[in-house]
Symmetry: C2
Subunit: 334 residues, 2 copies
């Protein structure tokens, strides 16, 4: 069945179910011109928006519709996590090509809803339109946070430790397997899963912001090598990264040994880790790590902020060099 | 110059100027993971989102980049107007094809900024990505409103007058001229302008919601014939429209006389009027009309809500028939 068989409004009727998983304060969600929401007193509202296009951000022939929907919401949840916020209302705009069936479209929404439920997020509204070629999904997601707990990119101080909340490179390795080593994919289920269905670090972000032990935070979408530059620039500092401290999963180690990719590019140059990158004063590191460990989460120190503006990397052999790898800037040709 | 020559972050630096036209409460706009905003106590937040795709919603060969940016924001402002709200923060996601120059891209933003300034709206954040073919723009726009002033689609009562705040069909006529009568376009500047650069009825929406004299409201995007069905369905009522009451501009009358289009389809079947459609108890009509006239705005009565669920139209000859024209449902084949 095609979208045109039920029409836009028939479609909206079908996705309404389970879209609101929290009681909606008696106000109106999907179906009116605007969604309306209230926030508790003293809360600030966060809003993030991310657009995913077929053939640019995902390939329909290698991802299931459920995974596409899941990931479209996951990358937005990761942005709310990066500010330390509590994700709340998702607004989904989707442009639907002719060859996508209604069943596939509903599966995309099911992928979003399954993830939304885990994080107590409503799918509150959006827009549905046709596309002449590619599937396009844009999600605008709101979050709530106490204003004094928001973590920006600009708060880092010289001497602060640069930390991440997960292993690096799994998603990039997964992507490499999908694109270049399909016959090997079945040997690396965790790398593939990390690429298709990353778990946004919302709990970690909330715990970190509430602890007040970090000075800046963001999520790793473009790779550590690129994203650390945002904190450096916003905080007017340099940074030094230690290659030997980069945390990696067992599967990633196996992938390195067997497929011998460009190590630095895969570990910190491609991104889509969707874990958190934060700076922590040295005196707070042990306490924050313990705090996260008690919640079942991780904290790894991979470098430190410095005076100046350059980003250095210390290789495993101890050689110091300027980190010229610029990560994955979507537009810039390297 | 192309987007890739400056990169995503170089581009963001260039659009930051003038993006925030209101003082931003000291919080962070373009450039962090999330935008943060606060609202005054007692206010509810509205959020609307609309996605526009090249070749589906606009043609790059007939619209200037400035017009494309303007219109992308205008349709969202119209949704906030439809709830009676005050538009506040715009989040722009854009997918940029290779053949769009940086200059054109900046012109798109200039079109948004020029309209944003008129309505005191900030461009607060967004997402920028590449597209392999079509230009795609999604805007998520927030608004503020006192909760007790929000007008939904569901508040109409039987006997309420159905009203619109502008002439009908000008935009549809403009589109017909652009697509089918390009040599005649110069004779109809107002129709063309109404199609490319509609003025969202934000002032009217605010005045109507504050007056508390209307029972339901929405904006006309798909055409009166289609949009009245949303109010009917949400309010569980029928409606009757009077063809002879439909307000039209002088240029529209001239277009009818000279180009002899399908009248009903053009007047109420295509849409993109972006004026407001509202229901008003009969006792309030004269006062509300006077109220709007004093602000330089219009109010026209085009029909009334009835018991039942059918939508009827009374022709100029006085013949009553079920209105089968379903307006422009993007997906459904008529």
């Amino acid at each position: 069945m095609k979208l045109k068989d039920v029409g836009e409004f028939g479609f909206i009727d079908r996705i309404k179910d389970d879209a609101l998983i929290r009681k909606y304060m008696g106000l109106v969600g999907i179906g009116d011109d605007c969604a309306v929401f209230k926030v508790d007193e003293g809360k600030s509202i966060l809003l993030t928006t991310d657009m995913l296009l077929e053939r640019v951000h995902f390939l329909r022939e290698v991802m299931t519709p459920h995974q596409i929907g899941y990931k479209a919401l996951a990358v937005n949840l990761s942005d709310i996590a990066a500010s330390g916020g509590l994700p709340r209302e998702a607004f989904v705009s989707i442009a639907v090509p002719e060859d996508l069936s209604l069943e596939e479209l509903l599966e995309i929404y099911q992928g979003m809803k399954d993830l939304a439920r885990k994080f107590d997020v409503n799918i509150t509204g959006g827009d549905t339109t046709t596309s002449l070629q590619d599937l396009v999904i844009n999600i605008a997601l709101t979050g709530e946070i106490d204003e004094d707990l928001i973590l920006y990119r600009s708060g880092a101080k010289a001497g602060d430790l640069i930390c991440v909340t997960d292993n690096l490179g799994d998603s990039a390795a997964g992507l490499d397997l999908i694109l270049n080593h399909r016959k090997e994919m079945h040997n690396y289920p965790q790398l593939i899963k990390q690429h298709f269905m990353p778990i946004p670090h919302v709990e970690q972000g909330r715990a970190i912001s509430r602890s007040k032990m970090a000075t800046s935070m963001m999520d790793i979408s473009d790779g550590l090598a690129s994203d650390i530059r945002h904190i450096s620039k916003a905080s007017k500092l340099g940074a030094v990264l230690y290659e030997e401290r980069f945390p990696h999963s067992e599967e990633f180690q196996k992938y390195l040994a067997e497929l011998k990719p460009d190590y630095l590019k895969t570990a910190i140059g491609v991104g889509e880790d969707y874990c958190l990158l934060l700076t922590v004063p040295q005196k707070n590191f042990a306490d924050l790590k313990k705090n996260l460990n008690e919640l079942g989460h991780q904290l790894y120190n991979v470098g430190e902020m410095t005076e100046g503006e350059d980003i250095y990397i210390i290789s495993k052999k101890g050689e110091k060099s300027i980190l010229t790898l610029s990560g994955w800037d979507q537009f810039k040709e390297h």
